[in-house]
């Protein structure tokens, strides 16, 4: 297990990381001005959606060490909630966003309460069961979701009376949401909540003995992650203007697992980097969907077997360059 906060800080060492985050954000701010073709901007929007989703997913996988396989449920729930409320009931973006995020927390409790009764592997399979149920409902409850014909005609996005129809405007909106998700994950990592989550993850029995209820903390993290994912789902409905059962597909889980494991579990910088890498690179290589997934799978397999800490290990190695040698952080078997 690698935890950034526990790295011994060397006296006089320059802290590069905050500067890098700021530079990255500044780069993201000016990026639309540099991208000539709308195609690239929509690629950037997709990349940012996955950044937010992967960061939210890592709050569950990395922070509490529970391998949830039902993350697309919350994303798809947000998308469908937005499509249904906006097209049939004329709700505004802000209202839809708030309601979906709140409802996603309730949904997370409904899934989490029974699922967290299960131990490790069984939790993964139990949540997978919920993911399949959600997909079947989206496909078959035609009256509510439109079934395989999808929900079409989601109205254009508008915030506080201003229509955000241009791709650039939508880019800034999702940038703000992704930054928000990173901010939440960062705040959790630095807060007492983060410490409690780490305690619950690393030794639930000991944490329980110290008065921290493992289930309560796991549910908290699960709920936060669900709310963030649903928020991205709402944006996705407006961005695509159509919501299909494929939005709940298990391939989203696959993509998120790849990002979190290649980035390095509970490493914010690793997960963000991996999410960007794995949305932008395939677009550049213009592979077909099937070959892309074959290669993804092989990369995931090799990474998880050979370097289970992913990019985080590379970052740590880079961070140590030119410094006095420190004790390597012990890697816990997980």
């Amino acid at each position: 297990m690698i935890d950034v906060r526990e790295e011994p800080r060397l006296r006089g060492a320059v802290r590069v990381e905050p500067a890098l985050w700021c530079a990255g954000f500044a780069f993201a701010l000016v990026l639309p001005l540099a991208l000539p073709v709308p195609y690239y901007i929509s690629t950037a929007i997709t990349a940012l959606m996955f950044v937010a989703l992967a960061v939210a997913f890592d709050i569950v996988v990395g922070r509490i060490g529970a391998l949830s396989l039902c993350q697309p449920v919350f994303f798809g729930f947000g998308s469908y909630a937005a499509a249904i409320l906006a097209t049939r009931h004329g709700w505004s973006f802000g209202a839809v966003l708030l309601l979906s995020m709140a409802a996603a927390v309730v949904l997370a409790l409904a899934i989490g309460v029974p699922s967290f009764r299960l131990s490790l592997h069984a939790f993964a399979i139990g949540t997978l069961g919920f993911a399949v149920i959600a997909m079947l409902v989206a496909r078959n409850w035609v009256g509510l979701t439109g079934g395989p014909l999808c929900m079409t005609g989601v109205p254009p996005l508008s915030v506080a009376g201003v229509e955000l129809t241009s791709l650039t405007a939508q880019y800034y909106l999702i940038l703000a949401m992704a930054a928000g998700a990173i901010g939440v994950a960062f705040a959790i990592a630095r807060s007492r909540l983060g410490l409690a989550l780490t305690a619950v993850r690393d030794d639930p029995v000991l944490a329980g003995a110290r008065g921290l209820s493992p289930t309560a903390f796991r549910l908290t993290a699960f709920g936060i992650s669900a709310a963030l994912s649903a928020g991205v789902g709402v944006f996705n409905a407006y961005f695509q203007s159509v919501v299909c059962p494929e939005n709940l597909d298990l391939s989203y889980t696959t993509a998120l697992l790849i990002m979190v494991f290649i980035g390095g579990r509970s490493s914010l910088r690793g997960v963000v980097a991996a999410a960007l890498l794995f949305t932008v690179l395939p677009q550049m290589l213009r592979l077909t969907e099937e070959w892309r997934l074959v290669i993804y799978g092989l990369v995931l397999l090799v990474v998880v077997i050979t370097i289970p800490d992913g990019l985080e290990r590379a970052f740590q190695a880079a961070g140590r360059l030119g410094r006095r040698r420190t004790q390597p952080t012990p890697v816990r078997k997980r």
Binding site: V61, A122, I125, G129, R265, I305
Partner: protein
């Protein structure tokens, strides 16, 4: 009444398939403590092998089925050597994600190689029927039931009466202690994965003539087998078999009397309900974490 008998026979054959797949999963979990997310894809490979043996090699069905099961032993050995052996001593998240990655690779390779359209595997027994209580039943369904019964007979004999079978059970109880008394963990692990793979091959070889082979056929099958494994108590092979049959019959009845679209929803709701009441499964004691 005819409808009920038909659905029960459908349920029994479906249940045989789930039981074969679930028992393989439970075996791998019980002996090696690995949840194999690529198990459904082993069935998918078996189905394509049967299709290939019938179509390209022009073998008659019984020979094609035997060839398929033999080839699945080789597939299992390859799977063990390339993947399972490397993750045997790793953390559970790494194991789970590694087998999930194998499943993604196999599904999409199947799409690349064979296309996503279903392929049929012909069996002359599939079209021949007998009439039971006024219901026409395909002879192939009896092949499914008989091969399932024979497989479990052999498996129980093997686990109880052979040295290797006893070594597998020792490994399941305590891997370190088994290694200390000189049981070759690697070789027993290989045997376990090969047996589980052959059982997936038997499920594929007998069921595919009734349905068809397509790249994503393993996904839902594996999830239902997981449901049976959880309900049966993790690592409990006979519990998984009983739950597999229960799920198959429940699903067939749901298809017949409720709605085919929501039959799967019902199956997973049953799984979740069982977990709510008994988190360690119907037949399981506390699960080893």
């Amino acid at each position: 009444m005819n409808g009920l008998i038909e659905q029960l026979i459908n349920g029994l054959t479906l249940g045989s398939q789930y039981a074969l797949v679930a028992a393989g999963l439970a075996l791998i979990f019980g002996v090696l403590e690995i949840v194999n997310f690529a198990h459904g894809e082993l069935v998918m490979i078996g189905a394509y092998l049967l299709h290939a043996a019938g179509t390209y090699l022009d073998l008659p069905y019984p020979l094609a089925a035997v060839t398929t099961v033999a080839a699945m032993a080789a597939v299992g050995a390859l799977f063990y050597v390339t993947v399972i052996r490397r993750i045997l001593e790793r953390g559970w998240q790494v194991q789970l994600v590694a087998t999930l990655a194998v499943s993604i690779v196999l599904i999409n390779l199947a799409i690349v190689v064979e296309g996503s359209l279903p392929k049929v595997a012909y069996s002359e027994l599939g079209t021949r029927t007998v009439t039971i209580a006024g219901t026409q039943v395909s002879v192939q369904r009896f092949v499914v039931l008989l091969s399932m019964a024979a497989t479990f007979g052999v498996l129980i004999w093997f686990l109880r009466s052979t040295r290797t079978g006893r070594a597998m059970r020792a490994l399941a109880q305590n891997r370190e202690a088994a290694a200390v008394v000189g049981i070759p963990v690697q070789r027993i692990g290989l045997v376990t994965v090969v047996i589980a793979s052959c059982m997936a091959g038997i499920a594929a070889a007998t069921m595919t003539p009734l349905y068809s082979a397509h790249p994503t056929m393993g996904t839902l099958l594996a999830i239902k087998a997981f449901a049976a494994v959880i309900m049966g108590g993790f690592g409990n092979v006979s519990g998984a078999v009983v739950s597999g049959f229960a799920l198959g019959i429940a699903e067939a009845l749901a298809i017949g009397y409720v709605s085919s679209a929501y039959a799967d929803v019902l199956v997973f709701s049953v799984m979740i309900a069982v977990l709510l009441v008994r988190p360690h499964g119907l037949f399981g004691r506390a699960v080893r974490a």
